[in-house]
Symmetry: C4
Subunit: 206 residues, 4 copies
Amino acid sequence: MTAIRENLAQSIIEAGQFLYGRGWSPATSSNYSARLTSAEVLLTVSGKHKGQLVADDLLAVDMNGISLENGKKPSAETMLHTQLYRWKPEIGAVLHTHSVNATVLSRICRSDSLVFADYELQKAFSGIATHESEVLVPIFENDQDIDRLASRVQPWLDAHPDCVGYLIRGHGLYTWGQRMSDALRQIEAFEFLFECELTMRMLQRT
Amino acid sequence: MTAIRENLAQSIIEAGQFLYGRGWSPATSSNYSARLTSAEVLLTVSGKHKGQLVADDLLAVDMNGISLENGKKPSAETMLHTQLYRWKPEIGAVLHTHSVNATVLSRICRSDSLVFADYELQKAFSGIATHESEVLVPIFENDQDIDRLASRVQPWLDAHPDCVGYLIRGHGLYTWGQRMSDALRQIEAFEFLFECELTMRMLQRT
Amino acid sequence: MTAIRENLAQSIIEAGQFLYGRGWSPATSSNYSARLTSAEVLLTVSGKHKGQLVADDLLAVDMNGISLENGKKPSAETMLHTQLYRWKPEIGAVLHTHSVNATVLSRICRSDSLVFADYELQKAFSGIATHESEVLVPIFENDQDIDRLASRVQPWLDAHPDCVGYLIRGHGLYTWGQRMSDALRQIEAFEFLFECELTMRMLQRT
Amino acid sequence: MTAIRENLAQSIIEAGQFLYGRGWSPATSSNYSARLTSAEVLLTVSGKHKGQLVADDLLAVDMNGISLENGKKPSAETMLHTQLYRWKPEIGAVLHTHSVNATVLSRICRSDSLVFADYELQKAFSGIATHESEVLVPIFENDQDIDRLASRVQPWLDAHPDCVGYLIRGHGLYTWGQRMSDALRQIEAFEFLFECELTMRMLQRT
């Protein structure tokens, strides 16, 4: 194993310990990845306990999501990861999580996007410098056909080069960053905003 | 003690540490078991702190719930465990927990079952491959007469061979799996869905 | 220091670590005690961080709440502890905590008592064997004059020999047990029931 | 590094570990400080993970917020810290946090202040001896122009010498104390009261 792969593997394993510990990757859900090279991605195999990942629970795939390792089958959702690495060369890490709040908010919200405004914490997203901006988060319908789902995500990405993450309804969140620490910071910011928004809705729902 | 019993005892002790830590087995509530042989089950004795179990807090019973160990009295709810091991030979572990969300949801819901639909996390249950399926969870009335309660559970199990768990009203959850890790995954999935469902009901209750 | 005092001091220190960790004794609130002899009680001094207690943060008082140690001033609420040890000789530990849920429930509830019914977890209280019983918890108005508050608590205790705990409005919970582990089990059971009750009220409040 | 600076740096690092662990400083938000001398303040640089601070993530500034260390840029919000140290010479530590509850409560509340009354925990604030007092907490509108924000805070501080903290709408809490432990106690008390108040509003909102 190269030193680069070893470091990235360790960053994915630690991300899993953190995200599982926070309750955002329960019951073997979620998948995580990091860019190995311009043409290869290191990704979690499906069905593993995300708080107990080991290096062998990761595999390398090419940018079409084809496994580069004998005997290891990439997660069904691999294409949603590689799609993002192809979209922007500066993306180095992609995290997909399944929190209660992301699940509920994506189901409660009847429109096809959420807007976050007037939160100081919006500044935690890459490229955002003031709470007076708006963060637009699309919600895609859930689909077990990942190619079809990816084909609905692509036009949004193309039209919104400043997109910082998206939701799949009843399913979870995709977000990313240059390094793993950036993707983790965005996860924390999203989960903070999801919890704020749900609490606000509970209080305002008269 | 045989190596098999020692391993199963350890898996029950660690399950207790996890489930107590999550707040799902408070105040000495809950009971857990694992299959020792086709005719014997290893089970927690009643009244112990579930985060602090030791090997001596477990006893072997036969499939009728009769203690196989002098001086140890099985939990009153033993029959609800052995009933499940008799129902399906592939079940290797049964977990019964008492979370706030399971308690509240089973009381708030006036009908005799819950249905979970359109949640990606339904796929965490054995045998479920898509969020487009429905997970049906029966709710039985609580009863201190465990034989009577078991006799109400049995017809449901017989009629629903794909059942993944059930609730007792105001009391808690029973779920199971081939190995302890499978039963724990199902607990996490249930608790996730319970929390989603309660939050959805709070938001939709206009 | 006697071995008995040393053991009781350790049980109070560990209770504080647990109760603070759960968020039930925030911001130096709460006080805890254990019976040293038929005439003496070991008690926390006031104003300490309850997750970081040391042996020197405890003092012995007599059954009238008078300090038996030079230079240590007992908590203002000492009389609420000694009152309980005088009430029942079998009480060995008393815990007073300040959780959000106890505070809110005691304020939201307009009557002078709460009733818990149909919860399996009621069986965690000493002397209760079925969910079909009722657990009656009085709520006393808060008062900075502890003698006056104690004089309102006493008639209730005299009239309800099976009382398992009480609330002070906007303030917190008093509960107890034969050993520290019994008092802790009752705290967990109360906090479970408080959370259930608040969640039920949020869902039913239409 | 002087021993005083080393001790204060350690107290800030440990405060960050605690506050991040509680979820009150997510996604690199928040800033913390401690008084070095009558003319200098030790402060976190901006943009760091608050649970993983190291001594190099701190810098000394003068009372006008000017960096005293080459190559380190103080946080944009430095003036809100130095303003407090100039206001009262007895203040030794200032904490600014971004919890979900502070964010939501400051947005939900339409007036320009909150009042806490009838909570025993009000006694955790410096100078408050009874739940019969009232704790008044102003809410300032959020502003990326920190000089302008500080100029709106100053008249309030001058008019309210007993002020124990303030909120910035959609942004977070500022509180302080003689030592770091006092500021932390006030953070815990505020977060307790915020959670109580939000829960009360959810229950009363009919």
